[in-house]
Symmetry: C2
Subunit: 396 residues, 2 copies
């Protein structure tokens, strides 16, 4: 029986070694780094970021480690957004999502097939911690739009920063439905919290990002969103046998321009865009500034505007409208139908309504009390060429 | 001793189970799929791509499985490019790179710390196979610019397609140096092979993509590149203690617009851009068409032009020049100094020369025999505003 014992001992040693190797392959922990170094060696994960200082782009790159960013929605855009911020060495990330990873998500970056079935926030945290152990993570596996969770969401964005008891520096909306955007909008208007919106159209070929500084720039309720997902969530889409298209390219571009805007905003370099659209069919990227709407439905938005004392509202707000018509015309998008608007007004405002899959409605709303743009005029505007629109932009 | 044997047996069983779990976590193989389905179920990785057909964007999405794309350079842009194509279900990918994964690459997407030390093509293939087992992979761990490997590179792009003995459908240049771009350019001009160029500036805040159809559009030798990496490779940079900056955002955006252009080109939808630039500081994305230069130094380019019978060269070529000056002025970029140009000509051509880190030289070359743009004129052009440049674009 001695042989048997020796054999078994040998087998145990073999298995132990194999297990160690397997675990190492899966996630070789890299050491935490106390202080970002600009040293140019292969083993320094921050050398190429610290080089931004020497190149004259960013004055104080290390400051990135002091910031806390909340990402709401860890799907096609949110997961890549979180990965980019993690690789840039952000101080803390707070992730919110209530969905699970599915194989149907594999046509977008970030999640891998072996993560199917895990909650998105759990799977994301595991991957991101392995990529950069210097980042702090806090995850919440719930839907922020329910009453109970909304209160907790408000609490975490108000007090969840790295600096105990402080509010986060920025909230990024990477959600796929109207309700979640409105929830973030309501929270941020009440708290005076700056955030950035992002979105990708249901046909996968356009998207946008938007900076919202309560009281200063247009909030999500101030004006009709330019490119908006249908106001039905993914589960509804599936139930009805309808499925939105998505592409890793469009979502990667939107995440890229979103996080670029975050870096520019936090580290103070370049021009922070108030609105940047992406039309993939024509490689058209409109940018513009949008001021808050004094007749906004959100009373906290109007209160923030009073505090900010907005003046001269007309110009940018009109500009915003003409470009949104361009989008509704070209996107075949799925835009939320606002109830106080009739079908006729809708047609007049947004030009030809495209054929849409069942369960998705088109909508467009001109903010009430808006003057200077008549219904008839706007129909024609949707027929304008890109050049004419851009020429118009400059005139404003 | 029986206890000991029982204990050992128990330990072996425990370890075996743990090992199985570890291996499963690392790479749960998903089954291959013979035929892309549009069925909307959580387990279908292609449902969101096939939805592009129902949305009216792509006519025949399944055709993606018949295409072979070669990616040269699997770094910050190339790895994300390969991942996007893999997730889109491309038929076959041929990857070329001779570099190893390092922790210093962790500020860009795709590679993970546990892959440090592996060759980039090996690490990439492993990750990509796990993501989508339906894609065929072929990897080459060598430098295409050496004589021997260049011949092999020519062979693989000529005969490496899914369809035995056929040329690849497209080559994507995701390299970081001038020599490799010139090697791809030479090969493609000789073979009449369509390819796309991509690049990110050394200061990490601008990039571009370019479609090159030999004889039809400007090749890499036809005109000075708009945004170019320094003509010193990464190893030289490191040796001199100089290190280029990079950002996951800029590289993600460039990979996204590159693969979007690939999808539009292969699946025939939208407008395929000949040139699309990205200036992250100002969120400026110039697009334009560029025709081949009849006086190009590459004789194969001139031969392809004869075959294509190019007419009316002037307009787009001038446009190209005025925008390249915009870039050289704003980029603080690292552009290759062409020997036949004097320092004075350089200053005259590219406006104020920015302070650059040691070891990186600025260069700009106006193609010989170019008429209609005098040196003095171009200096002033670099001082123009974006609006003026775009107005000028439309006049051409």
């Amino acid at each position: 029986n001695m042989t048997s014992i020796e054999e078994l001992k040998l087998r145990v040693r073999e298995l132990e070694n194999e297990l160690i190797k397997c675990k190492q392959k899966r996630c070789t922990a890299i050491p935490r780094i106390d202080k970002m170094s600009a040293e140019v060696v292969d083993s320094n994960p921050y050398s190429r970021l610290m080089a931004l200082k020497r190149m004259g782009i960013v004055e104080d790159y290390e400051k990135i480690r002091t910031f806390t960013v909340a990402v709401v929605g860890v799907g096609g855009v949110g997961s890549v957004t979180a990965e980019m911020l993690t690789r840039c060495g952000i101080g803390k990330l707070i992730l919110f999502d209530y969905d699970k990873v599915e194989l149907a998500n594999m046509n977008r970056l970030f999640f891998q097939p072996h993560q199917a079935g895990l909650s998105k926030v759990e799977a994301a945290e595991h991957t991101l911690r392995n990529i950069n152990p210097d980042v702090q993570f806090e995850t919440h596996n719930y839907n922020i739009t329910t009453m109970e969770h909304f209160a907790h969401f408000m609490d975490r964005i108000s007090y969840g920063a790295l600096q105990e008891g402080k509010a986060v520096d920025l909230i990024l909306s990477c959600v796929d439905n109207f309700e979640a955007r409105m929830a973030i909008n309501a929270a941020c208007n009440e708290l005076g919290q700056t955030w950035m919106e992002s979105g990708v159209s249901e046909n996968a070929v356009s998207g946008h990002i938007q900076l919202i500084i309560p009281g200063e720039t247009a909030c999500f309720a101030c004006a009709p969103p330019l490119v908006v997902a249908a106001n039905i969530d993914e589960k509804t889409l599936k139930r009805e046998g309808v499925c939105a298209a998505s592409l890793p390219t469009t979502m990667g571009v939107v995440a890229g321009i979103l996080v670029q805007n975050v870096l520019k905003y936090l580290l103070k370099f370049g021009t922070v865009s108030h609105y940047l659209g992406y039309n993939a069919m024509q490689d058209f990227f409109p940018t513009m500034a949008m001021k808050a709407n004094p007749t906004c439905d959100d009373r906290y938005c109007r209160k923030q505007q009073d505090d900010y004392k907005v003046t001269d509202q007309g110009g940018p707000f009109l500009l915003f409208l003409s470009l949104s018509l361009y989008f509704t015309h070209h996107d075949l998008g799925c835009i939320e139908l606002v109830s106080e608007q009739t079908e006729e007004e809708l047609h007049a405002a947004s030009g030809p309504v495209p054929d849409l899959p069942e369960g998705i409605t088109v909508a467009y709303t001109i903010p009430e009390k808006e003057t200077g743009v008549s219904g008839g005029e706007t129909v024609e505007e949707t027929e304008q060429s890109l050049e004419e629109l851009m020429a118009q932009m400059r005139k404003m």
